[in-house]
């Protein structure tokens, strides 16, 4: 029965209400924002020096956990560094039973994983001015010389705690925020992005 239910996320009403702002309707806006509310997020805690833990995660996700601060590894899923013993594993879509398997995989280790999928939503930004928009609300230096593909940072954007992940070449950035702050952040982006031209899908 649950197969036939459609999954919704909290920013669907926002996309329907938001026409392209700040540029003429025919021109492609300098920033395009799409919402992805259907990913799976696991918060992972463990000791990176414990081989049983790192091997278990690697055999399940197919990639090593990033041990360097503020970086991510990316293949089937994205694993973001959150702290010296904490990571966020992000799968692009929901799959029934996956978390249970992952959790079982960690049973024999001293690590723990928590399914936090319902707590987060992703705002995917693309376009020439995407970084200019983020820079308006963020104190970090997002210039290429210090923020490259494979980097992810936890910081504040317009006073909202967020993770900015740089996962692809070109001007593509993913902003991972708590669902409850997502609408506020989207409204802030709509105002702050008007000077560049911003469109929401």
């Amino acid at each position: 029965m649950s197969d036939s239910l459609k999954r919704h996320h909290c920013l669907e009403p926002f996309s329907e209400d938001s026409a392209t702002i700040g540029s003429s309707a025919s021109a492609e806006p300098a920033i395009r924002v799409t919402f992805d509310g259907h990913r799976e997020f696991y918060n992972l805690r463990g000791d990176p020096a414990d081989a049983a833990f790192t091997d278990a995660v690697k055999s399940f996700t197919g990639q090593s956990i990033p041990d360097k601060a503020n970086t991510l590894s990316y293949r089937e899923c994205t694993t973001c560094w959150l702290g010296p013993d904490e990571w966020l594993v992000v799968y692009p879509s929901f799959e029934a039973g996956r978390f249970e398997k992952f959790s079982t995989e960690l049973d024999s280790t001293d690590a723990t994983a928590v399914d936090v999928s319902h707590g987060y939503i992703v705002l995917c930004l693309s376009g020439d001015s995407a970084l200019d928009l983020l820079a308006k609300g963020c104190t970090l230096d997002l210039h290429l010389s210090s923020f490259n593909v494979g980097d992810c940072v936890q910081t504040g954007i317009a006073r909202t705690a967020a993770i900015i992940a740089n996962i692809a070449e070109g001007d593509h950035y993913e902003v991972i925020v708590r669902r409850t702050f997502a609408e506020y952040l989207a409204i802030w982006m709509r105002h702050a992005g008007a000077e560049f031209g911003i469109g929401f899908d």
């Binding site: 601060a69 959150l82 702290g83 010296p84 904490e86 104190t139 970090l140 936890q154 910081t155 504040g156």
Partner: protein, 96 residues
């Protein structure tokens, strides 16, 4: 803008951090054996120096880890930071 060097994340803006009081205050191993004066000293008495002060800070909007910092209370300059459980480096990043 005041930059604070998180021992994990590097230089970040002051607005990402929370202050956590004086560093290096160990909880007494046997609280029952302390006099009221000794307990009060542990709970309430702080150095409050004019000059270099060792403090605890939390990178609240980043990696959310606690760390130690040495700050000059006159100039607000952070002279060095180090991870919990480690010893501070023998040299300072900047002079106070």
């Amino acid at each position: 803008m005041l930059l604070i060097k998180c021992p994990w994340c590097g230089n970040r803006a002051e607005s990402e951090f929370n202050y956590g009081g004086e560093a290096g205050i160990a909880r007494p191993a046997n609280p029952d054996t302390l006099t009221d004066a000794e307990w009060a000293d542990y709970l309430f008495m702080r150095k409050n120096p004019k000059g270099l002060h060792q403090e605890q800070w939390n990178h609240a909007q980043g990696c959310r880890r606690w760390f130690n910092a040495e700050r000059d209370t006159v100039t607000y300059r952070f002279t060095r930071t180090w991870r919990i459980g480690e010893a501070p480096s023998s040299t300072r990043d900047v002079d106070s």
